[in-house]
Amino acid sequence: MQRNTIMALKLHGPAMSTSTSLVITCLHEKEVDFELVPVDLFAGEHKQPHFLAKNPFGQVPVLEDGDLTLFESRAISTYVAEKFKETGYDLTRQQNLQEAALVKVWMEVESQQFCPAIAPIVYQFYVDPLKGVSPDQAMIDVNLEKLGKVLDIYEARLSSTKYLAGDFYSLADLHHIPYTHYLMKTPAASVINERPHVKAWWEDISSRPASKKTAEGMTFGEK
């Protein structure tokens, strides 16, 4: 298979960050070479002027592709998936209007329903301990309830299609990987494991070679 090495893409961000991992997974699926430029979040590098010049919101990741500088991981992954449509896996189904539309729908579901519920849980389990604070169980419980309701809908959906947008893996599924990867290492994993179709979907998408390769760098919380 041909690897696309013509453009030297630079991705700025730490490999362990959920948003950076999202883009890395996409780059691997598309078989695109890139340089990962680490950003030291603990040292506040993302709030320094040289980084704010790339992303005024002071967040990782940022993609540099020639003269283009892009932030927001979901915009970056979409750009990569569409630019490199000739190589790797077809993540956006642009050749089929209906399939492409459903990919967009479930990408927004991840963005607007799934992420707001799962992110606070992962934050409580991973980030608070770094500050010497115990996870806030009340916050975890409230968000687990929210996430459970979202996943009930996923369970119904995944009982009729193999993946979220249809019977094909897409960017919509991929966007769920980073946060779920971290969730699965906590007691909150039960919210996935208790739902058979969601569990099977998770096992499928996380065992793709691109997903496994990215997971090697997702070492947040490991000693």
Partner: protein, 218 residues
């Protein structure tokens, strides 16, 4: 003959009005089918079939059935690329990437605090739900920080993604309309010179004026 494009939901919903603005910008005919949320129509089985999360809008274009307003807008721009405002989602990949970036910024950074303020200040009183002063203060601060970033950006660029009005700007119209025209917190926008100028420009577009008219008469 009825238009093949159908939007289900009340015009007062911010997400519904986002889709309506996009359809009007793209000059695409549509039917608006009202959904009475106070009667729980959005939680009934017929609606849930179209939108499993029980939220508005739901959308149909012949046999295609979609939800999530930003996904619907992107679809409209893709399918009807040659109609109406052709620049709305960019005419080349670099323009589209910039628009997607700012559309994501709207969805991730602008919408949560502005949406919370719209709920607390515009909807809660109507629904006789007590306002949460703590949440109002917290979200006002968050929104202020986001608007500081916008203030700098809009000093460098006429619109968020570049020199042309795009889907990224459009996506901000619904929440901002409520905050500026329907609450006393409009000065969050109008006290910032570049944001104020931008708001003035985007809200005076014919497409948005039509949506506001629909909200008033709906």
């Amino acid at each position: 003959m009825a238009a093949p494009v159908k939007v289900y939901g009340p015009t007062l919903s911010t997400a519904v009005s986002r889709v309506l603005a996009c359809l009007i910008e793209k000059d695409v005919d549509f039917q608006l089918i009202p959904i009475n949320m106070s009667k729980g129509e959005h939680k009934k089985p017929d609606f849930i079939k179209m939108q499993p999360f029980g939220q508005v809008p739901a959308f149909q274009d012949e046999s295609i059935s979609l939800f999530e307003s930003r996904a619907i807008c992107r679809y409209i721009c893709d399918k009807y690329a040659d109609k109406g405002n052709k620049e709305l989602y960019g005419t080349n990949p670099l323009a589209k990437a910039s628009i997607d970036q700012w559309l994501e910024a709207e969805g991730q950074s602008f919408n949560p605090p502005s949406g919370a303020l719209v709920f607390q200040l515009a909807f809660a009183p109507r629904m006789k739900i007590p306002q949460d002063e703590g949440l109002i203060k917290q979200n006002q601060e968050k929104l202020g920080k986001v608007l500081d970033v916008y203030e700098k950006r809009l000093g460098e660029s006429r619109f968020l993604a570049g020199d042309e009005f795009s889907l990224a700007d459009l996506s901000h119209l619904p929440n901002t309309q409520y905050l500026v025209a329907g609450t006393d917190r409009g000065e969050l926008f109008t006290s910032r010179k570049n944001v104020g100028r931008w708001w003035s420009e985007i809200s005076s577009r014919e497409s948005w004026k039509k949506v506001v008219q629909m909200q008033k008469s709906g």
